[in-house]
């Protein structure tokens, strides 16, 4: 059995358990998990970029594009199927990523971060001034159907939970496969030493642009899922604090494990919800302290608690040991 197939079975089993557990959870927790899954999908995109050595401070850009496209498709064009809306959000953001990606791929570190932030704030400014899409108030999005089934008041929370969990699981699987692929390894090499990778004969910029497009597609899917579950969208989707939360989530998760981002997203939602309730004016303080602790004690993120670094397959490692033994024997014989 291949490793990808093993992972697919594991993820499918985890999804099945999650969906069963969901049947027993209260509404408030279902909603919280739905938001964690939807936002976690955006965080997945950040992890893809972090593996290449850059962090976007403007994922709100693609989050908002995905959300607005899904919302407009539902309100203006009468598209009611949730899966189609997610696909539309995903493709629209991927398209935006394909336009911005080649430009952004020229920059690194703070310049990359600030450019992405600037782009997201440009979109925020446009959305606030655009009365056609509700201006600063945004607009409401009608409850969609799902694969031909009507979603009503009683089953809506579970339906959105199931949809976001299923899509998040599928996308996490795809990101995991990508991270383990030869292109995933190339991203890690770029993060380590761009100059060497370029001298090996491949385009670092193209690899970075591809990562940005993947992250954009994931951001769009996350935006669409959020809009579908919330039933509302406004320009705050593109605001810098929203992007900041995604960065928070990605740092909390680390890039060692894709599923870790959902744990980070859930932790963020829990801290946000409870802090908001018990100390509403200073909840960002709790968030800041939480991040500080993670950076101090888990600098590689919570994913590093269980994700082991990729290693040579056992057969290859054995061949390397045999080759080393041959070399030692040859050296001893020469002496």
């Amino acid at each position: 059995m291949t490793r990808s197939l093993q992972t697919t079975i594991l993820y499918a089993a985890a999804l099945a358990v999650l969906l069963l557990v969901g049947l027993m959870l209260p509404q408030w927790l279902l909603f919280l998990l739905t938001m964690a899954a939807s936002h976690g999908v955006v965080g997945l995109g950040l992890i893809v970029m972090m593996r290449g050595g850059v962090v976007s401070f403007g994922q709100g850009l693609v989050f908002a594009i995905g959300g607005y496209v899904a919302g407009l498709a539902a309100t203006r064009y009468g598209i009611t199927d949730a899966v189609v809306l997610v696909l539309l959000g995903c493709f629209a953001s991927a398209l935006a990523g394909a336009i911005a990606g080649p430009l952004l791929a020229r920059y690194r570190s703070i310049f990359f971060a600030m450019l992405t932030l600037a782009l997201s704030m440009v979109l925020y400014g446009i959305l606030v001034k655009s009365s056609g899409v509700g201006g600063s108030d945004g607009f409401n999005v009608p409850r969609p159907s799902m694969l031909g089934l009507t979603i009503n008041e009683t089953n809506a929370d579970y339906a959105f939970f199931a949809l976001s969990s299923a899509i998040a699981t599928l996308l996490t699987l795809l990101v995991t496969i990508y991270c383990r692929s030869s292109r995933g390894l190339l991203s890690m090499a770029i993060r380590d030493n761009e100059l060497r990778v370029e001298y090996l004969g491949t385009s670092v910029r193209a690899a970075m642009a591809i990562n940005f497009v993947i992250a954009a597609a994931l951001g769009g899917a996350g935006g669409a899922l959020t809009v579908i579950s919330l039933g509302h969208i406004d320009p705050n989707f593109s605001y810098w604090t929203t992007s900041g939360e995604f960065v928070f989530m990605a740092i909390l998760a680390g890039h060692a494990s894709a599923p870790a981002v959902f744990l980070a997203s859930l932790l963020l939602e829990l801290v946000r919800s409870f802090s908001n309730k018990y100390f509403p004016d200073t909840w960002q303080l709790a968030l800041g302290l939480f991040l500080l602790l993670i950076i101090l004690f888990l600098p590689k993120g919570v994913g590093s608690l269980w994700a082991k670094p990729e290693r040579l397959p056992r057969q290859a490692a054995e061949k390397a040991q045999a080759a080393a033994a041959r070399q030692r024997a040859a050296t001893e014989a020469a002496q």
Partner: protein, 252 residues
């Protein structure tokens, strides 16, 4: 009589950095299989020449041809794709990865179609090739060790091994023995040449140790102040008056 085909032809290359002339009408033709050593004091223009040939810097004037085809002004990636690879004075490696993973990345980039979005990075065939490459350089014992833990000499060899993964036409080694102890220099050069053995690889290397130069080069090009001041066999160049005066420093 048909003219001798050159792997590398540099014609009147010039490079200036403001008022500094780093390369002044440098012309050099290198035939297939030659092992050419570039010598000169620091700032003589050796590394500038290597950087121009490998696309790291663009020449201000002149042209560079590889197998008769113009490569002037191309970037490192395009030049590497045409078969010119290099190692660096300070090894350029992925420090957080293991030695085997470094080679694996190099092989993946070098093999057409090996870069994939879904096929696992640790492909059995490529892993075997990576181990074989490490074995050629005597590095199999370090396969699983992170590069950050490897000693300087091993890193130098790994840097050269990465450059060889593409099966280049021409390889440029920038001071392959710098930072290596005197005792290890010869065994290191032996290892490198053994690893290249049989490939008829054209090699240019920059070196300061004249014992290494006279032992391993079959042609020596001496640089001074951005110009070529001598070009010939080691026996001819190392006794040249100008070379003695400006490079080896024993002008008596």
């Amino acid at each position: 009589m048909t003219p001798q085909p050159y792997v590398l032809e540099a014609d009147r290359l010039g490079k200036t950095f403001g008022a500094l002339v780093a390369a002044d009408n440098v012309s050099l033709q290198v035939s297939a299989g030659q092992r050419v050593c570039l010598i000169g004091s620091n700032g003589a223009g050796k590394t500038t020449f290597v950087n121009m040939v490998t696309g790291y810097i663009k020449p201000s004037s002149g042209s560079i041809k590889l197998d008769g085809k113009e490569i002037t002004g191309l970037g490192p990636r395009q030049i590497a794709q045409r078969g010119v690879c290099r190692s660096f004075q300070i090894p350029q490696l992925c420090l957080e990865m293991s030695a085997a993973e470094n080679i694996l990345v190099a092989l993946t980039v070098a093999r057409r179609g090996a870069l994939s979005f879904w096929r696992g990075a640790y492909d059995a065939g490529l892993c075997d090739e990576a181990i074989a490459m490490l074995e050629r350089f005597g590095l199999a014992g370090h396969a699983e060790r992170p590069v950050s833990e490897l000693p300087g000499g091993v890193r130098k060899l790994l840097d050269i091994a990465m450059a060889l993964c593409r099966d280049p036409r021409l390889i440029l080694l920038d001071e392959p023995t710098s930072g290596v102890s005197v005792d290890e220099k010869f065994s290191m050069m032996d290892t490198v040449l053994r690893a290249m053995d049989g490939s008829n690889l054209t090699t240019l290397f920059v070196e300061h140790d004249m014992d290494i130069v006279s032992t391993y080069a079959n042609r020596v090009v001496a640089f001074y102040s951005g110009r070529v001041i001598a070009d010939g066999t080691p026996a001819e160049v190392l006794v040249d008056a100008e070379v003695k005066r400006y490079v080896t420093g024993n002008a008596k």
